[in-house]
Every structure is written in C-alpha cells, then in structure tokens.
Symmetry: D3
Subunit: 149 residues, 6 copies
C-alpha cells in the first residue's frame, strides 16, 4: 500500500512582488503594498509530500534523514533569512509570488531527486507552501516526471 | 503546469441544526445540543482552492483582488455576523450542516464564476470549511461544471 | 512555591451585542454588524488559572477532576451550544461583550469556589476568554475576594 | 454530489521506534533518539475522512455519533494514554512509525466498517495522522476495498 | 472591576539585525544569518492590552473602533509590507530586534494615547510581539507614564 | 526600561503519573488513565521568560545564543525523546505532573543561571509549560532568588 508522508519545514525570508514585464504603474495596481520597492517578508512554511511503499523492515516509506538533508541543501539553506529577489537565482529576474515559489521549490527538489533516491524508491508527490496562514499554493509536479528526463 | 492556489477566509455566524422533515423528537435525538432552538455559533473558516496556469507575466494563477472581491460579495458579506437559519436564503427552510454549508458556498461561487473569470482562466477546484478545528467538510463541485451550464 | 495552573476549555455559542440603555441607532453605530438582531456566534475559549501550592504527595496544585467538574457545572453546561442573550440568566437583560462574559465566568466560579475547595486550597486567580484569536479579555477578580464574602 | 467529511481526534501515547529485524546498532543509526529504549511520546492527531452523499433529510453525509463511537472503540480507547509498543497488539512485535500507525488506524476502521455503515452509505476515504505538526502521514486505503472482502 | 482587553493584529515586514556601533565582523558573530545585508522578514503579531473599567452602559472597557483606528494609524499602516530598516523612522539608524520593535510600538501608542482616550479612560497596559511563534517580547511601559508627560 | 523576552522550545517525552506515597488503588483513582504503568507521552512546549534591560548597542536584553545553549544543556538534551520517569533524575522517585515538571525546569535553569549570566544581566522571570494546549503550568520562581544562594 502506498502511503503519503509529509514533512513541514519553515524559513523566514523577504520578498517583493514586481513583474519585470509590466510598468511601475501596472505593478503598483496589480500588487499594491506587496510591490513596495524595499520588500517585506514572511514566516514561510513548506510541506513536502512523498508517496512510497512502506519498507517492511524499517516501517518507513522514505529515509527521513535523507529527505531533511535534501531539503536543507536545496531549499532551506539557500532561502533561510534571505531576500528572495536579491539572493535566490530564480528570482533575480523573476517574481517570487506564492505560485512561482512553489514551482521553484518543486523544481529544485525534482532536479536532484534521482541522485538521492532510487527509481524504486519514494516519489516526490506535491509541494504545499503557506506564505501566510491564509495564502497557500500547492503544485503536484505534473509538468516534469521523475526518472524520465 | 497547473498550480492550486488556496485562500482562507473567516467569518462568525450563528446556526441551528434542525431537519424540517423530521419530528422535534427525532431532531433532538439526531442533533443533540446542536438542535437547541435558540441556536449557537462558530468561528467558521472557508478555504477556496482554484486550479490554474501561472501567468508568465504576473506570476499568478488568479487575480487575488478579484477572488477576494468575489468571495466578499457571494459569501463573506452575506454570512458574516449573521444567523444562517434566519438570514441566508438557502437555510431559511434548509439546514446549515457543515455539508450543506460547504455545498452552498460552492454553489454560490460557481453560479457567478463565469462572470468573473474567463473560460481559459482559473477553475474553482474545491471548497473546504472548518466549523471547528475538528469538524471539516470539503466539496469538489463534481455536480455542476463551470463553463458548461 | 506557588504555581499557576491553567486549564483551557472551549464552547460554541451565539450572541448579539446590544446595550439595553441605548437607542437602536446608537447600538448600530456602536456595535456595527455585532448588533445584528438575529445574532451570530463564536468558538469561545476560556482559560481558568488557579494559584496554589504543590501538594508533595500528589504533585498537584489542584484536583483537576474537581476543577473540570466545577467548570462543567458553572460554565460549560449552561453556555455550550446556547444563545447567550436568550438562555444565560446574566445576559437576558444584559450584553454579552467579551468583558461582561469574562466577568460572568469569573463571578460564577467565585460564587461557589468555597464549596468546592478549602480555604487553604487553590485560589482562583484569573479568567482569560478568547472570543476570537484576535479579541481577548482577562479578569483577575480583584473586586470580590474568595473566602471573604 | 459527494462530499468529504473529516473529523479530527487527538490522543496522547508513548512509542519507541525499533525495527525487530535490525541490529541494535543499525536501529540506533536509523532512528537516533527515537530508538531510546524507554520510549518517548506524542500528542497525536488523527483525521478521518469519509466520502458520502448528503442525505436530503438530515443534511449529513454520515451519522457523526456513529463515526465518533466507531473511532472511540477502534482507535481512541485502545490508544489513548497507552504505550503503543507495549499495549497495542499490532505493535507488540511491530514498529510504530507514522506510516505504520496510519496503516493500523486505517485497517482497524476498515475491518469493521461494514458492520457500522450500509453498503450504500459513507465510504472511508483516507486517514491522516500528525505525529507532530511537522511529521504527517496519510493513507488512502487502496489496498483493501470496503464491501469487497 | 478592572478588566484587561487584548487585541491581536498582524503585519508582514522585512528587517535586518545590524548594530551600527559594532564592526561588520562583530555583527555577523552576534546575529548570524539575521545580519544578512539584504534582510529577511516575518509575519509579525502584535497584541495590545489595555486596562480599564467596564462601562455599565456599553459593556466595554474601550471603544474598539478607536483602538483599531489608533493601531492602524500608528503601527499597522506604517509597518505593513515595509522594510523596517529602510522605511520606519526609528530603525533608519536603529536595529529592529524584537525588544526594540516592542519598545517602538509601545512608544508610538503612548505618544498619542491622551489624544485618543480621556484621562479617566482605558490605560495602555502592555505590548506583546511575536516575531515567530518561538520568539516573543513583552513591554509594560514602566518608563513613561500616560497622562504625565 | 525592562522588557520581557520569551523563547518557546518543544520536546517529545513519555511520562506516567504515579504518586509513590499512595496505594495503587489511590493512584488509579487520582490519575485515571494517566496512571497507566506503561506510560504515555506528549509534545511538550516550554516557554522561558527573562526580564532585562535592552543593551543600547546590541538592541537585545539577553544573548539568545547563550539562552538557547543553556536550555539545550539543562532541559532539552536531557528531556528530548526521554521517558521522564525512567531517565530524568528528579522523576526517578518523583512524579512528573505539569506542576513538578515546571518546577524542575525552573530549578535546573536557576541552579546554573549565575554561571551563564552576570549579576547585572537578565533575570529568569518565569517558566510556562504546555503539556497539551489545554493543560498549562507557570512558575515564577519566588522560592529561590537568583544571585542570592
């Protein structure tokens, strides 16, 4: 039986919403206070869900030490206490909306997933990000399949 | 890639569980204290989830100002600080169980969705309501399809 | 050494804010939507804090079974799933603001405290009520002393 | 229309992670402090989600009194204030990881589901367990179908 | 009887910890990642507690519309979606630690309190700020008395 | 001005309530399921509050790295993933009620406080422990004064 194991991590970061392809006026109209040039910040929460079979010996569907280390390397260390717009490669010319942030987290984990887990092992199933307790985005990685590229 | 964007809203309201088609005795047996004729109330939480493509210019899957305005008009303004049984049309002769409340919220948003968003735009995916942190109902709107009626 | 033991209880109830001594117009101006004649409701949380010495035999500052039974009798049974304005004696001609509700809870517990606990036993120290997570009132019972009246 | 009704329950229990098929050294390496022979514990949360049609008379998709009684009998009474490794049959020679615990909860409810609910009635859809707010497992019971065995 | 009424507000902001009187090296040693020059951010929560008598007519210890308007003017509008170091006067050459932020909030409210509430009215009692759910600071304004300066 | 800085830490542990000075029957009557010989467990939360002056150079009332290290050494490392009754010295023949646990935490921090902080530095003000979100104990250390023994 497949189980779905989720780990929830937190990090604090600053961001600013600004679409490079729009005028300053259009940006202000679209994002309001979130377009403030000096940025603001959040206590972000990221939930990583993996689908896997339960190993009959260990009783686990994934090696949690590995998952934690992978997330630390790919997401938490580069994002924690950072200004996303100024210090995270994908947002230097991008726009850290909740949607884009969820996609970047998903991409960063999928990009190296096969180096960390075997083809028969756990699959990355979905990413859920809380920017605030009232603003949430989930991606399920349909666009790119693990063990395929 | 499709993303799933959720917004969570809250409102305070009173309600009473009472099935018009049952005897008073049967109502008391079925709903217990929730059948109290004078009603009681809750701090309701409503999570609205939409599925959409991320716009490459804005980095967003939906115009959040529009979604907030739609929910304010259809759900929050008519429900906030109200007695659901006495002031919300669907419950004047109905029964505001968590299931029915979730269905009404879903219906109210779907009824006007096409007036607010284009056919190529975001889709209303599901409604999740917390009556309390321990009593929750989710509907996914299979009964009525957007852009079909 | 004195310790401060707190128990947190919850109940769901309806209420309406309306000052009997004011005109309808003044009530609407003062309480806004909370003055809606049909009422609304909340998931109330009540924290009862007692100060006491730790009994060296039991390791406890108060008999929690007694405290739970006292709160059930005086507060939870009469308030749970009720319309405070219509079913709680103090509010039939009163006004269930957070302040008045906290005071009523405090009064109801103090009124019978001496029948439940000995003079050398735990003291009722304070009541804290959350109407919502953002609206809170605390009373510390300075007005009426236990074991004095 | 099918709705998804969730009830969330809590219980406090002790457990120890230890794989009977591994050496003591391998256990320590795999589970770290969770392998401590004397055990530790958690405030577990269990969310039970059922899928069902809303009864037009009662406005409910499931009899909540029945669901609560079933969960009390099968899960809460046997697990509450227990040492899972020493007092729950499935873990006497097993390993109470979050995955195994979710599977056991799912099995225990499915094993008797047909005795409590009719074939046309609500279906057990998924179990979600929070060991902590950051460690969560969900099972959806694909392995065994209700009303089939 | 005096009651203690608390209102909790939230805002999102960026900040950077940096002591102007210390070398860059000392700053890095002292604040670690929080000294990152580009800043990071938080979902701040601010609880404002006032002490007052309950008005027998209104059942309230303070006019909540006034308190909300005061906090909006003095704290929320100037801090919301802002970079504290770059856009809040007190931190342009200061250091937005949790302690300093609590003090600034307290100062800003006390500075104009007498213009909003009468001398016989509610007193500002304490400010409590959550930078995260695990890092909290409370000030009780002993340094400056209302209705005295 | 004195500020009150709080840090909140969490640990998972098992315990059993049992008063050595009472009969088995009396223990069962007093503690109910909490007297289960095999123990159960909790996700404990501990809030440590210190009172201090804000250093004008650092903007801090206490060196948080020191406070974290002190709590790790005295509380978290010895309690985390432990069975309190079997592995924590004070409870080998004691009784880990919430009251006693709060007192032990307070004692352990006060016992070495002067080795970590100067006499002019921050004072340990109070300890608040959540055994569950509904069962809480606070001690304020009146029994033993810092910098006095």
């Amino acid at each position: 039986m497949t189980v779905h194991l989720s780990r929830k991590y937190g990090f604090f970061a600053a961001h600013r919403l600004h679409a490079p392809g729009l005028s300053d006026e259009a940006n202000r109209a679209l994002y309001g206070k979130c377009n403030n040039p000096n940025g603001h910040g959040h206590n972000y929460e990221v939930e990583v869900t993996v689908a896997g079979k339960v190993d009959p010996v260990t009783g686990r569907s994934i090696d949690l030490n590995l998952l934690d280390a992978l997330c630390e390397q790919q997401i938490l260390a580069p994002f924690r206490y950072r200004n996303l717009n100024k210090e995270v490669a994908e947002f230097l010319t991008g726009n850290p909306t909740t949607e884009n942030l969820a996609t970047v987290v998903d991409d960063r984990l999928r990009a190296v997933w096969n180096e960390w887990f075997s083809a028969a092992g756990p699959k990355l199933e979905k990413i859920r990000i809380w920017e605030t307790e009232r603003n949430i985005c989930q991606v399920e990685g349909q666009g790119r399949t693990q063990h395929e590229s």
